[in-house]
Every structure is written in C-alpha cells, then in structure tokens.
Amino acid sequence: MRNFLLIFGLFTLVMAGCAHNPSLSPDAPEADLEQTYAQKTPLILSQSDTASDQAINEDDDYLEDDDYEVVEVADPLYYWNKTWYHFNDKMYFWVLKPAAQGYKAVAPESVRTGVSNFFHNLTTPIRLVGSLLQGKFKRAGIELGNFLINTTWGVAGFGNLTKKHPELNPPPEDVGQAFGAWGIDHGIYLVWPVFGPSSLRDTVGLVGDYFLHPVTYVDPWYASSGIKAYDTVNETSFRIGDYEALKEAAIDPYVSIRDAYIQNRKKKVEE
C-alpha cells in the first residue's frame, strides 16, 4: 500500500512537469480558430485584432518595439542616386549577368571557387588594416595567420584551408567599418555607377580599401581594372539570381536596396 502511494506521488510530480508546456494550451480551440481563418480565404480577422479599444498591452506592443524604429539614412541626393540605381540595374542585366552566366557555363565550380579563394586571400590587407583600426588585434592576427597558411599550403591562396573552421573565419572588416566603429555616421546615402550602394562614410572607406588592394598597384591601369572586373564576374557567378529575387520581393527596389545596405553595414560594424 505504501509503495503504491509513493509511486502515485512520483507520477503526479512527473505529470506536473508536463503542465508547464506552453504549446499544450488549454485554449486549444482558440488556436484552432486562428488556424482555420488563416487557411480559408477570405481571411477573416477576429475582433480582438482590429478593435482599437482592446487591451493596450498586447495590441500596442508593436509600437513599443524600439528595435523597430526605422534606421533612416539621409538621402538628399535621391534623384541623382536613383539615376545611378537604374544605370546599375541595366548594367547588371545587360553586361554583368550575361558575362557571369557565360563564364559559369565554361568554368567548373572548383575553378571558380579557387579564383574566389585567391582574391579573398589577396585582399587580406584590407581586412587586416580594418581590424587594426578598430583595435581588434586578435582578429587581425587570425587574418594574418590565414594569409600565411593559405598562401603556402593553399598554393598562393587558391586553396582556402581555413574556410571550414568557424573560429578561423572572423567577420570580414574593412576601412569603412572602422569608421563606423569610431562612431562616424553614414552621412548621406550614395549610389555609385558600377560600385553600387554606399554612403559618404563608406565611400571614404572604399578609397582606403582601394589603396590597400594589391591589384591597384598593377601597371598599366587597365590591367588592374581588368583583374578587378574578373574578380567581380567570378563572384557574381555564384550569386546569379540573388539580385533578381530581391527585386521580385520588393515593392520599391531602390528603397529596399538602400535599407538593406544600411542594415547590413550596421550589422557588420557591430560584429
């Protein structure tokens, strides 16, 4: 008898644990209601969602979300920028994409990956200086270490041996991010022909990156540009379809790109 009581006691304790499961809700019928109206068309809203005199806490919660204050960038050169946006758009569809597609068709993925690794290795100075300017010495050290490993064992950088190790892949830094880390704001939004979206701060950063890019020092100037152009075509060959998808998803592609650029840069500065 006593044993039975004990076992019963244990059983209730264990069952108490299950009562804390939030998804096994006692208001299962209500959850079902939300399901049914979500699946049927037309979508009928329940009273609680649109009535303005509902419980203030839950309904107005979306307004309190500080994280969702739109991070605006000043765009006084809106019409100028938009012109270049259209230019770049045409450039992509008429020049870059066909080149990347043709290239992709003839170059096997291993070759393209090798080239990508090579250029990634080559641009170590940009990431190195970007890290140092932010006092991220450990990160700078990793970049340097990777450069040494991949240049020697990776055969001039074509093989990227450090790619597979997450601890050896810090988020890439650049001079523009260093400025951001110093507290310098974007200034204004800028769209450059060919180079795409940028800002006042990031453009100065790009100038810095330019002087840190080894290929810049290749003579003559058109060889240097040609090599960089090849790098661009090679990178694009991996991402054909991404730009189109972004345009498809957007209501206003120009604004979407501007916002995505700002959000992405903010994340990179924070990393």
């Binding site: 939030p22 959850a31 979500a38 979508l43 739109v70 604004v255 995505a260």
Partner: protein, 198 residues
C-alpha cells in the same frame, strides 16, 4: 528498500526545476523548418506535376508559423493607425499573399544546403530570437527568426537574413510610399504586385 525509494524521490525533486519547455521557440522553429525541408526534398513531389502540391503544402506550413497580423502591424508601425478596419483587413491579406509568393520562390530554388540551428535567446517574456545558419558549401548565411508567444503558440514575426530584417526592410519601403500617398495608393500598389505574381 526504503532508502532507495527516498533517493528516487529526492532525485525527482532535484530534477524538477530543469524541466524543458517542450515546444519552446527554437524547437518550434526547428520543427517547422524540418517540415519545409521535407516537402522540398520529397521525391514524389518533384517536377512540374508535383509543383502545385508542393506549393499547397508549403502554404499550409506558412500559415502555421507566420503571424500575419503581427507581421502587418510591425511592418506598418505607426502607419498602422492610418488605415481603417477595411483597409487593414485588405492589407493583411495582400501582405500575406506577397510574402507567401516571395518565400515560395526562394524556397523552390533550394537545393540541399544544410540548415543548422545554433541557439535561442529571449528578447522579452513573450518574444524570442532563434539563430540558424544555412551552409551553402562555400559560405554560411546567418538567418534569424523572431517569434512571439500569442495565445500560447510561438509564431514568427520577423526573419533576419545576414543582418537585414524583413520587417524593417518592408517598413522602410511602405514608409516611403505612405509619406507621399494615401493608404489606398499603398493597397493599389500591393494589389498590382500580387496580381502580377499569380
């Protein structure tokens, strides 16, 4: 014999605080993503004939995980108050259509990348962020989901890809439109956009 029983009782009492929320945000996200991957990888749904069935199944999963009302409110933010009840209704419907078709297109382009869930963190009592990565072979794409607990169910109200929040991105676009036009114009644009996708 008695001693053993006492030990067992103590063990249970000690372990009780460590009970896990079965159905926490990360678990929910993982389950739903696995369902999506299962549909995408289903050999019986391959090709043209299976495409429609595939889309139907995906749509059902979307309805399960997304809270379209919450998404709509957060995307419009302060502008939500500018819309009357009927406009809000229509906005939610159109926005849902837009998101469904956008996600559908991206998912159907999926091949067999690995999806790895790393951790979850609570933003507040009823909001959580779940971190995941897509391994495409040559790079990792971070994708985070933000979920809200409503009526005891965790639902997604934002997707953040490489640091870009979908809600913020659409919000900036809608802000731009609503700063120069009436809500009716926004609905018109959405109608056009979703009609073009059908």
């Amino acid at each position: 014999m008695k001693l053993k029983l006492i030990w067992i009782c103590l063990a249970i009492l000690v372990l009780m605080p460590f009970q896990v929320y079965a159905g926490g945000p990360m678990e929910i996200a993982e389950i739903e993503v696995k369902k999506i991957l299962a549909v995408l990888g289903d050999p019986s749904l391959a090709g043209e004939t299976g495409a429609t069935a595939k889309k139907e199944k995906l749509r059902a999963i979307f309805d399960n995980i997304f809270d379209y009302v919450e998404l709509s409110k957060r995307t419009l933010g302060r502008n939500w108050k500018k819309l009357d009840t009927q406009q809000r209704d229509e906005f939610i419907k159109l926005y849902r259509k837009l998101l469904d078709s956008v996600y559908m297109e991206r998912l159907l382009a999926y091949k067999d990348e690995k999806v790895i869930f790393s951790k979850e963190s609570m933003i507040s009592e009823k909001k959580a962020e779940v971190f995941s990565n897509i391994d495409t072979g040559d790079k990792q794409i971070p994708i985070n989901y933000r979920l809200i607990l409503k009526k005891n169910q965790w639902k997604v109200y934002d997707v953040i890809i490489e640091g870009v929040s979908m809600v913020k991105n659409y919000r900036s676009q809608f802000n731009e439109i609503l700063s120069k036009n009436k809500p009716e114009e926004l609905l018109n644009i959405l109608r056009e956009k979703t009609r073009a996708k059908e």
